[in-house]
Amino acid sequence: MSEKHPNSEGAPGGEPLNGNGVPAPRDTSPEVIGVRRGMFGAENGGDTSGYGGLVRTITLPGATSRPYGGWFDEVADELEGALEEQGLVPENAIEKTVVDRGELTFHISREYLVRVARTLRDDPALRFELCTGVSGVHFPGDKGRELHAVYHLRSITHNRLIRLEVSAPDADPHVPSLVAVYPTNDWHERETYDFFGLIFDGHPALTRIMMPDDWQGFPQRKDYPLGGIPVEYKGAQIPAPDQRRSYS
């Protein structure tokens, strides 16, 4: 979409910090989340279609440069100003800003998530009072940033909706919890932990919520199969479908 990150002029935005489990630095190019080969989605078996050589990179929309349009600039200005007042460097906290399909997304560096959320909630010009929960997304192809947590914040005062996106590498799946700022995120974070294995640091009781307590694995990750999982409880076993007794 755009070439230059609006916040990265002058001082470099994020220092390359990977190596110690911190997300890899961002650039302004579209975010690559994977590579698709062939035409029809088949991954194994011989190629009879002739399209097998086709290689396409899948990218999500990249950073947008100013002006964002509408009230987006106002929110971005206010947020950056409020962060500066607290003695933070906005470029460090906000990795990039994406405007896509009429929606404003701030990609937040995870160390700053709680402070950014608190600012968004408390600043009179921002006032995002309502958090509509967190949605986990797993991008196995986005190396170093596999797990994303997406928050949608709604301001009833100003009638606005923005999105915060935080990412964590699979090797270090930690994101700070927002329960202290938005208590409503209690169950939402438990759900995201249950399905994606994202550990929300500071959550009062991060346990499984949907799956049984002794369930193994995180079922909504991309590498988890859809079905066919053998289950055992009270000593009774339900084998995977391919191992079940068959009736004629």
Partner: protein, 440 residues
């Protein structure tokens, strides 16, 4: 104490008795002998008055609830994961089964999200949008009717339940006429609707509106002024505005705290800004206020339905873009609803390209440009949000539903703690959680 009916078991939380019947005196005696006064009662997940498979864990002192927690997940269906293995169009079949009492809201929210990703929001035909609104408002009535009916039944007022289900049947008849199914319709599709209204539908809806104008006051007569009903509901399940905002409660719960927040007014979708209706509120913050709001919302829904009927004009119900629109209009055959025979004759007999197009679109589906979108509708329970992510393929990459039941149910603890055990049921009924939506 060792009896065959209540076996003690030492855990990290103290001694736990699994009571499976028998002599309650023995159980109570042995509990009294223990120096710990705390009694934790597990209610559900299979309990007649917990609204489905909700599990409540109550710590009680006498009749007072000192702590209340929910156990959920007993109906977790993995729908969000299942969606990732089906095409975008097939997705409606799954989402309609999430909160099975508000099917049309799930479908509309999902379709609005997909349409936002496709960038075709402006191309949806007017008739499809009006019909979506019409069906959603009918759905609001049927959902509220079930809420009032089951809520009444849980209080022991069986008459309200019979009334509620009687009127809901009238709405289900309309659904059946229009979509072919009583529940789980998958009628609203990305780009429009599965098919147009069948003949006679408008007349039947008008007939229904007339009947409901007569039936709705019966709930007032039966319940609104009823002293027992009022005594049971008033000041029960109290949650004020600050609590609602912190816990993210929306819908009738938020409006019972006095804030007229309704996405239909605040962030209109499907052309709601052009309809004339009111957002009822109450300032009682309690179950009774929520009941009154639900009743009033049904009246407002009737108003919207009447406006929809007046606006309906003949026209297409699917986007014109042939790359997205389902290739065939459905028709009723001797063996049920299916592809119209005329269409099959055309693609099989005259046009190879149309056949290929049909095959590709139906088996593989359309591609959605990469990106993410959030769409929200005001469901009868509150803000129903959908976060859809596409990777440019023919199947969703990730779909997450922010279900209002799930979020609102978190308020259960705040509403019940410090109250009576019997009031827990009233409070939960006033939240109106549907476990299909909570657990998904």
């Amino acid at each position: 104490m060792t009896t065959p009916h209540a076996t003690p078991r030492a855990t990290t939380e103290g001694t736990v008795y699994t009571v499976t019947g028998g002599d309650w005196d023995e159980v109570v005696q042995s509990a009294a002998r223990a120096d710990d006064e705390r009694i934790v009662v597990n209610m559900g997940p299979q309990h007649p008055s917990t609204h489905g498979v909700l599990r409540l864990i109550l710590e009680i002192e006498g009749e007072t609830v000192s702590e209340a927690r929910c156990g959920i997940g007993y109906l977790h269906t993995g729908i969000e994961k299942n969606l990732e293995y089906r095409t975008w169009t097939q997705g409606t079949t799954f989402v309609t089964r999430m909160d099975y009492l508000t099917s049309f809201y799930n479908e509309t929210a999902y379709c609005l999200g997909v349409e936002k990703l496709l960038g075709i929001e402006d191309q949806i035909p007017d008739r499809a949008t009006i019909l979506r609104v019409l069906l959603m408002e009918l759905n609001r009535m049927s959902s509220h009717l079930v809420c009032i009916a089951t809520g009444g039944m849980e209080l022991g007022a069986t008459t309200i339940m019979i009334y509620g289900f009687r009127d809901r049947e009238l709405i289900l008849d309309i659904y059946e006429l229009i979509t072919g199914l009583r529940m789980n319709h998958a009628y609203i599709r990305p780009g429009g609707l599965a098919q147009d209204l069948p003949p006679g539908a408008v007349d039947q809806i008008r007939e229904f509106v007339k009947k409901m104008h007569k039936n709705l006051p019966e709930y007032d007569k039966l319940a609104t002024g009823n002293p027992i009903f009022k005594a049971r509901m008033q000041d029960v399940g109290y949650l004020d505005l600050a609590g609602c905002m912190a816990l993210g409660a929306t819908g009738p719960i938020l409006r019972s705290a006095g804030l007229p927040h309704d996405l239909r007014k605040a962030q209109p979708y499907c052309g709601y800004e052009t309809y004339d209706f009111d957002v009822p509120t109450a300032d009682t913050c309690d179950s009774y206020g929520r009941f009154l709001i639900r009743l009033e919302e049904m009246r407002q829904s009737l108003r919207i339905i009447e406006q929809c009927l007046d606006r309906l004009e003949p026209g297409p119900v699917m986007v014109a873009d042939k790359k997205i629109a389902w290739p065939a209009q459905l028709a009723l055959g001797p063996d049920g609803l299916g592809n119209s025979l005329d269409h099959i004759k055309k693609i099989m007999g005259t046009s190879m390209e149309a056949l290929i197009h049909h095959f590709k679109l139906v088996t593989e589906g359309f591609r959605v440009p990469p990106g993410q979108a959030y769409a929200a509708v005001e469901s009868p329970k509150g803000e129903l949000g959908v976060h859809v992510v596409s990777d440019g393929g023919t199947r969703p990459y990730r779909v997450h539903f922010r279900d209002p039941s799930f979020t609102n149910l978190q308020a259960m603890a705040a509403m019940c703690e410090g109250g009576q055990v019997a009031d827990v049921i009233v409070a939960v009924a006033s939240i109106d959680p549907v476990m299909g939506g909570v657990d998904r």
